[in-house]
Symmetry: C2
């Protein structure tokens, strides 16, 4: 297994930059100058589009990737014999685009669960001002359902009426658009008869949607998660946080798709400019190479699109969306604790001094002598825990807010916020954004088709959304490639 | 648009056999004798397998179909300008295999709803002994959730614990296998503290899973629907009965898949024998033609497999499963009422004399003068309403049990029970069946791969299950085709 230049591992003795992973890939030996289609980005949107355009539609495709590996904001590192998901992790059969692809490769048989979300034995909460407290799991569960049913019903309409087509939001936008200026916090503030502690628990759980306190998360964005989750809070949590892929994880999944791809591959090659020409599209890499094609699919994330020079420039509205970006700039850190603990789940209030927003145990390590230690995952609030090397702060925050006295043996992370090809984690949108930008971000720009989970219709910010976008891009690109070339 | 020889339309003035539909297709002008793969059946399992094997994997494929049309147990007839789904109808984004394919063709944008299930204004119920009664919709909804939570929790385990992987039931079969001998009725009888009327309402709604009273439906089968539905009864009903495909319906969907198929097509050709030979597989049609291939996919429904001569014979266990068949032999009848009614939903108790088990309004007709009449759909209990031409009985039962005094202008139906290529409707299993037969039915037999929604892992009996099976068959068939041929 190769070592990527990405990923970071801390132990008390030393720190390592770059972790082992099966995601590292080599470029094709020969790269031509002209292709039918160029796909930029080997995350799931790009892999799916490249696979189908090359294998199913027999087009000459070039896949260009800035990193040394496939998977984009998902990849599986091997650390002490464990598969650690450095980015996107949890999957579900109600994520249709993802599950259909998992099943196609037989990988749905490998699903496994995170112990702390599937069957927690204990739950705790750190309020804005205070120490970590135990929470009754059934009481919390029913409080979340009660509050959610109230929050997501507005002006006499329930969530099914407000968002009847959560995978096709632009179909009946009138109702939700009306509330797009509202934040989760605004909505909670408008409900005067709900106990404050129930509101706090609800908000801390909803904050997990976007690594942000409720004052920053759009009500419509939370409503979408709830509608996608089948209109129960337990459903949302199940679909977004319990099941993951065993036996090689997200990287095994990405490799299965890549294996069916029949075109050329170019890694370690970031793109600096994309130009619509009279003959098609021209791409320039940061190394100065240029490639041309009849059409191009860009899967570059929203928060990075501003780094590319587009000619002609993107529309003013899209430029505005790119400049604003999405709000999710959280952190994800894997910890191994020396203690062997039964499944636990924790949330924290974003208005206190906690840098973490939620955390849970994933599984216990095993040795021939039996269970050994607890692998767990902590998610940080936006803009916090931004220095992966500041182990003192990371350990201190974990012990203060989540598990006092924990014996942290190692931690591993991918610093997505400072990653030039991500500049954030999974997309989550604030107020006044979806109604304003979603449709524009989905438009193609000349012969450039834009595909990213960041502006997916359904599970936006998820691998499911990436695959949805990859599939849409295939359909759009086929139309562009089939168009007669303009006369010179 | 062509006319199929299938479908039946009754009006007071006349009856018509054979309805207009875009599902009718012609055979290829030239059919060879040898192929890489022969696919029997142009339902969704067969269409998906034929498409991927021909277009994606470049194999020479022959698609053989007994009917004059594509779609199998789904097709869309044109009656008085309306699209009527003669078989499988409702779809959902939480049916992953189906939704991924719908989205691939952009057809997810055409979803529409059945008025009587999405937003009923009135609900009624006909108890075993009695007249049709009005039911409070919110009271019934909460009663169904209360009873379901009790029914699907057993020995202290809830439905999530009993069936953690509803799309992969053979992964952790120990728990549900333990209860596979129990029927829905047995389970209800064991719960002594639930009001009788709540039990009756629950049973009449659960009966819709298999067109049968609770004494015939396996507890595990109902548990599976509940788990697939996200562990709420409203979820099950939403996923299985609200959304359908507009603009051409199931036939438009089937046509989109067929359009990408690049192999040969042979319609109006039923198969009589399938033989594993030393070189591959040989098929004989009822007309005496023979075709050979390296591998074969049979999508012949469970209840029809006994009509095919297999050589060597199927395993004794599979023969037993085929002889038993599945239990669902219900009827589906479209009615047009002269009255223009707001959305309504009705269920009936299977222990009374009602031939219908549930019915609801689908939509109201429109004319330039405004809304005109109500299109609705009635489902019959197993073995009842078996004579499509007995209009007196059909009308009488509808008026007695569902809508007293209704003015029925027409009805349209496909007589699936007496259809030699279906012999039933969507699969539903009784007790002691899933644990005994499911795994066996999924095995291939020499170079014959079996794919049908009837033994799908997830949404068994649904189009989603058919596509799931088609995808699995692609994977299995590729392995068989790649195997070196045995030496002669």
């Amino acid at each position: 297994m190769s070592r990527s230049r990405e990923g970071y591992l801390w132990t008390p003795a030393e720190a390592t930059e770059g972790l082992e992973t099966a995601a590292v890939q080599s470029s094709s030996p020969k790269i031509k100058e002209h292709y039918d289609v160029i796909v930029i980005g080997a995350g799931f949107a790009g892999l799916i589009a490249a696979r189908d355009l090359s294998r199913k539609y027999n087009l000459n495709v070039l896949l260009v990737e800035a990193r040394d590996r496939i998977g984009g904001r998902t990849w599986t590192a091997k650390v002490l014999g464990e598969d650690l998901e450095m980015g996107g992790t949890w999957v579900h059969w109600a994520q249709p685009h993802l599950y259909a692809e998992l099943h196609r490769y037989g990988l749905h048989r490998n699903l496994k669960t995170s112990a702390g979300t599937s069957a927690p034995v204990s739950q705790s909460f750190t309020p804005a001002s205070g120490e970590v407290e135990d929470v009754s799991i059934p009481d919390c569960g029913s409080a979340l359902e009660r509050v959610a049913a109230r929050v997501f019903s507005i002006d006499g309409l329930d969530s099914r009426a407000l968002m009847p087509y959560p995978h096709d939001p632009l179909r009946e936008p009138a109702l939700w658009t009306k509330y797009d200026h509202v934040t989760v916090k605004d909505r909670l503030n408008a409900l005067h008869d709900i106990p404050q502690r129930d509101k706090e628990l609800f908000e801390s759980n909803t904050n997990t949607f976007g690594s942000a306190p409720g004052k920053d998360i759009g009500f419509v964005e939370a409503l979408r998660w709830y509608a996608l989750g089948g209109h129960t809070f337990a459903g949302v949590m199940e679909m977004a946080g319990i099941f993951k892929i065993g036996n090689g994880g997200m990287t095994a999944f990405a490799r299965a798709i890549l294996e069916e791809y029949t075109g050329a591959r170019l890694f370690n090659t970031a793109v600096s400019a994309i130009r619509n020409t009279s003959r098609g599209v021209e791409v320039t890499s940061v190394h100065g190479q240029t490639f041309t094609a009849k059409a191009l699919i860009s899967t570059i994330p929203l928060n990075c699109l501003g780094d590319i020079k587009f000619d002609p420039p993107l529309s003013p509205l899209r430029q505005e969306a790119v400049a604003n970006g999405h709000i999710n700039k959280g952190a994800k850190i894997h910890f191994k604790l020396g203690e062997t603990l039964p499944g636990w789940f924790w949330t924290g209030d974003g208005y206190g001094d906690s840098s973490f927003l939620f955390a849970f145990s994933d599984h216990n390590g095993t040795q021939t002598s039996g269970p050994s230690g607890t692998w767990c995952i902590g998610f940080g609030y936006n803009g916090k825990l931004t220095d992966k090397k500041n182990s003192r702060h990371i350990l201190e925050q974990f012990k203060k807010n989540i598990k006092p006295g924990a014996d942290i043996e190692i931690y591993a992370t991918h610093d997505w916020m400072n990653d030039p090809y991500a500049k954030g984690v999974w997309a989550c949108w604030g107020p006044n954004s979806v109604s304003k930008y979603l449709q524009e971000l989905q438009q193609h720009h000349g012969r450039i088709v834009f595909a990213s989970a960041d502006w997916a219709d359904g599970w936006r910010g998820f691998v499911d959304g990436a695959i949805e976008q990859g599939q849409t891009a295939v359909r759009e690109t086929l139309k562009l490639v089939e168009q007669p070339r303009p006369k010179l």
